[in-house]
Symmetry: C2
Subunit: 475 residues, 2 copies
C-alpha cells in the first residue's frame, strides 16, 4: 500500500463484536518508520471493524503493530509505504513562532477563518450548499462542533447523534454511533479537499441532549474517540470549547485535565486552543498552542502578545448580520475593518454571518449561503495578506494606528477610521520603497507614483478604511 | 463688599517692591467664615500689589487676615459678605461618585470637553474667534496649558511668557510675568462666563523655552503661583500634565510630589488629574480625583472602573481631522461614535479638531474656528446625555454592546456598528417604558409606537450608529 505523505493511512482489522466493544476493547497501534515509533489510538467503528488512522509525516516504510486486550487484534500487523506528498499538500498547520502558523513543510498559513458551528449536523442538501459556498469563499478555517446545537435559530433535531440513542429515549454514553462519526469524517474530508482547516469544537454549552453534562469518565472516553477518529486528518485542530466559561458543570480542573489528556493521546500534535465567553482562558498554559479569543477589543492584541507569546486567533469578534443578539449584527464594513485591524496588530480575525431568513438557516450555525458583503472583501483581504512575507511582525512605534512589517522588505499599515492627507514613515535612507494605497472596502490597489526612502509621507485620499503597503524596490 | 457665592473675592494689598517679591515675600491669608478657617495662598502681581483670591462657598461674613514676612502685609485684614450664588452658578465641579461629576450645589455636570492647548497664547483676534466658536459649541470643558507649545503647526512665538525673559536672552524662573498671567486670568474668566471648565495643564513636554526642564524648587514656586492665582476661579481643574510619561526629565517621584503638593495648597480642592501618553498613570493614588486618560480602547472602560473607582475622562481619543499624525485624523463619524460609545460605558470622551489650513490654525492647539462635522452632532449628543438622570450607572449584563441606566427610570443603549433588526431588553413586567430610536449622526429622535415591558424587542432600522432610549411611563 502506498500513502502520500500527510494523507491518512487507514488500517482496518476484524475483531470481536461481543459485549460493548467501545469500552470493553482497547486497541492501540505502534507505528514505526525510520527508527521512530509513534503510538496511535485505534477505535471501534461498529460491525466488528476496528480501525487505526495514521497521518504519516515521513517518507519510507511504516510498520504497524496492534496492542489490544482482544486476542483477535493483539499483535496484528500492517505496513504501508509513505511516498512524497501530493502537490499542494503541506501537512498539518502548526505554530511557527509567537505570531505565525505554518504548515508542517514550512509553508506559511495565512489564517482567514469562518464559523458554521453545526453545518455537519444539517441535511445533505444544506451541507452541499455550504460546500459550494465555501468553494467560492476566502475561508481556510472552519469552526465546527462535534455535538449538535440547541439555541435560537437552531431548533431542528439532527439526523444522527455521536452516541446511540435519541432525545426521547436518552443516550447510551458508552456506545458511539458510527453513522454520525462517518458523517463527521466526510465533512472533515470535504473541508480538507477545499484546503480548509477544521477547528473541531469538542465541548459547548448549547445543549438539550445532555452532551454538555457528561461525567469525567464519559468525557475521557469521548475525547479518546475523537482523537482516534480524527487525528489522522491533516486539517484537524482541537478547540476544547466554544465559550468554556459558559459550561457551568465544568471547572478549571476539568479543562486542565482535558487539554493535556488530548495532547498525550494525539500522535500528530494537532493545534489546541480554547475559546472564551466572558472570561479569558490563561493561554500561558503549556498545552495551549495558540490563543483562541472572543473579543472585539483589538487594542488589547499587543497586551495579549506580551502576555501569551502565542499566535492570536480572534475567532469571534461579532458576526456580520442583523439579529438582535448583540454579537450578531455588525455591518459588513465593520467586519472587514476588524479583519484588517486585527492583521495590522499581528493577529487573526474570524468571520461569521447572522442574517435572518425564513428558513432559520444562518451561516454562523448551519452554513448554507452567504448573503453578506464581507466575504468578497475578505477574499481581497486574504490576497493582500498572503502577499506579505511570512516573517512579518507587529511594529509598535507607539503611534495610534497599527502596522505590521517584514523589516527592510515590506510593510502594511492600516489607517482604519483615519482620513489623513497621508501616512508618515521613517525608514533607512538607503532603502527604497514603492507604495500602494489599498482601499479595503472598494478592493483596489493604487500604486503611488515615485519611490520613497528615509522620512517620508505617502499621500492618501482623505477617506477611511485605507491601508498603505510599502514594498522594497532595488535602488 | 458683597460677593456672590462661588464668585471670586479678590483682595489686594500694598506691599514692598524691594528685591524680588516673587520669592522674597511670603503671603498667605486665613479666611474665616462661620467658625471655619481656610488658608489661602496669596501672590505678588507686580507694582507692589499683593493679592489673595478666595472662592467663597458659604454665605455669611468672611474675615481675612494676612500672614507675611513683609511687615507691611503681615496682620492686614479685610472682610466681605458672601451672598447667594447668582442664577446658573453652581460652584466648582467635584467628584460625585465613582462615575459622576457634580457642581458643588449638587447639580449634575455632564462633561463634554474639547482641547485648544494654547488658545490663550494666541493673538487677541484669534482668541476672540475661539470664544465666538465656543459660544455656539457644545463644549463645557477646555483643556489648555499654562505654558506655550512648541510642536508641528505651533511655530509662532507667544506675546507673553509666564516668566520674565524671552527665548533669545533666556528666562528668570524666579520672576513671574504678571502680564502673561493676567491674560491667563482673562481666558479662564471668559471660559467661566461661557459655562466652560478650564482644565489647566500645568506641565507638558512640547517646549523650546526650557519650561519642561525646570528644577524642583522652581517648579514648586511655579505651582504655588498657579494655585494662588487660579484657585479662586470656580471653573478651574488641575491637569498635572499632558502626557506625563513623555516628560523625560521627570520621574514618578516628581509626580508623587506635585499632586499632593497642589492638593495641600489649594483651598478649594479643585479636581486633579494627570493625562498619559503611552503609560497609564496609577489613578488609584489618593491625590488623583478622576482618571484623565489618553486611549481609544473604550472596551477597557469597565476594567478601569473596576480598578480605579473614579470618574473616567477619555480626554484624548484621537481628534477629528486630516493631519498625518495618527492621533489627529479620525472622521467626524468616528469622533461622534466615540462620544456615544464612551458614554454608554459610563465614561466621558473628549473632542479635538485637527484639519490642516494655510494659517496653521488647528483648533486642537490654537483654537479659532471649527470646520468639522462632529461639533453639531456633539451638541445633539450633549442634549440627550443631559436628559439622563444624574444617577445612571453602566450596566454590564455581559452583552457585547454597552448600556447605561438609571434603574427603573431611564436607559440608554448604544448600538454602535450594529445594524440589528432590534434591541432586546429584559425589564420588570410591572414597569412600562416608552422607546426612542436615536440616530446619533442624523440627530433625530424617533419615538417607537407603543409601550414596552418585561422581555421585549425594540424594532430598529437596520443601520449603524443608533442608540435606543427607554423612559419609564406611568402604567
Amino acid at each position: 500500500m502506498q500513502i502520500r505523505k500527510w494523507d491518512m493511512a487507514q488500517l482496518s482489522f476484524e475483531g470481536t463484536q461481543a459485549g460493548n466493544p467501545f469500552v470493553d476493547v482497547t486497541v492501540d497501534a505502534l507505528a514505526r518508520c525510520g527508527g521512530r515509533t509513534v503510538e496511535v489510538p485505534g477505535f471501534y467503528d461498529g460491525n466488528g471493524v476496528y480501525r487505526v488512522r495514521i497521518l504519516p509525516d515521513f517518507c519510507g516504510r511504516w510498520q504497524v503493530t496492534l496492542k489490544s486486550n482482544d486476542p483477535l487484534l493483539d499483535g496484528q500487523t500492517a505496513e504501508f509505504d509513505c511516498i512524497a506528498a501530493a502537490d499542494g499538500v503541506h501537512g498539518p498547520v502548526q505554530v511557527a513562532d509567537e505570531y505565525h502558523f505554518a504548515y508542517a513543510d514550512g509553508t506559511p498559513y495565512y489564517e482567514c477563518g469562518t464559523t458554521c458551528y453545526v453545518w455537519n449536523h444539517q441535511e445533505p442538501a444544506l451541507r452541499e450548499k455550504t460546500l459550494a459556498t465555501l468553494k467560492d469563499a476566502p475561508f481556510n478555517k472552519m469552526r465546527m462542533c462535534v455535538f449538535p446545537k440547541h439555541y435560537r435559530y437552531n431548533a431542528n433535531e439532527p439526523a444522527f447523534f455521536p452516541f446511540e440513542g435519541n432525545l426521547k429515549d436518552g443516550f447510551d454514553f458508552t456506545r458511539f454511533n458510527p453513522a454520525c462519526w462517518a458523517q463527521l469524517d466526510r465533512c472533515v474530508t470535504q473541508l480538507m479537499d477545499l484546503g480548509i482547516e477544521a477547528d473541531i469544537i469538542l465541548f459547548h454549552p448549547y445543549d438539550r441532549w445532555g452532551f454538555a453534562h457528561m461525567d469525567r469518565e464519559t468525557e475521557d472516553l469521548y475525547l479518546r474517540y475523537c482523537v482516534a477518529r480524527l487525528s489522522g486528518y491533516r486539517n484537524v485542530w482541537w478547540s476544547f470549547a466554544n465559550e468554556f466559561d459558559f459550561m457551568r458543570d465544568k471547572n478549571m480542573t476539568d479543562w486542565d485535565h482535558y487539554g493535556p489528556y488530548v495532547q498525550r493521546l494525539d500522535p500528530v500534535g494537532h493545534l489546541r486552543g480554547i475559546h472564551n465567553g466572558r472570561i479569558y482562558y490563561d493561554h500561558t498554559k503549556p498545552w495551549v498552542t495558540h490563543c483562541s479569543i472572543q473579543s472585539h477589543d483589538f487594542l488589547q492584541i499587543p497586551v495579549w502578545h506580551e502576555r501569551y507569546h502565542k499566535p492570536i486567533c480572534i475567532d469571534e469578534c461579532c458576526y456580520e448580520g442583523n439579529i438582535p443578539n448583540t454579537w450578531g449584527n455588525i455591518t459588513a464594513r465593520e467586519m472587514v475593518h476588524r479583519f484588517w485591524e486585527s492583521l495590522a496588530y499581528g493577529a487573526y480575525c474570524g468571520h461569521g454571518e447572522t442574517y435572518l431568513n425564513d428558513r432559520d438557516e444562518l451561516w454562523w450555525s448551519k452554513g448554507g449561503e452567504l448573503v453578506g458583503q464581507s466575504p468578497e472583501r475578505l477574499k481581497f483581504f486574504l490576497k493582500i495578506f498572503s502577499e506579505m512575507p511570512g516573517d512579518y511582525v507587529p511594529l509598535r512605534p507607539g503611534v495610534v494606528r497599527p502596522c505590521i512589517g517584514s523589516p527592510s522588505r515590506q510593510y502594511l499599515y492600516y489607517a482604519g477610521p483615519s482620513q489623513s492627507v497621508g501616512a508618515e514613515f521613517s525608514l533607512p535612507e538607503q532603502e527604497q520603497y514603492q507604495a500602494d494605497i489599498i482601499d479595503t472596502w472598494e478592493m483596489t490597489v493604487t500604486p503611488v507614483p515615485g519611490v520613497f526612502s528615509g522620512n517620508f509621507l505617502v499621500p492618501m485620499p482623505q477617506k477611511p478604511y485605507l491601508a498603505v503597503r510599502l514594498r522594497r524596490v532595488e535602488a
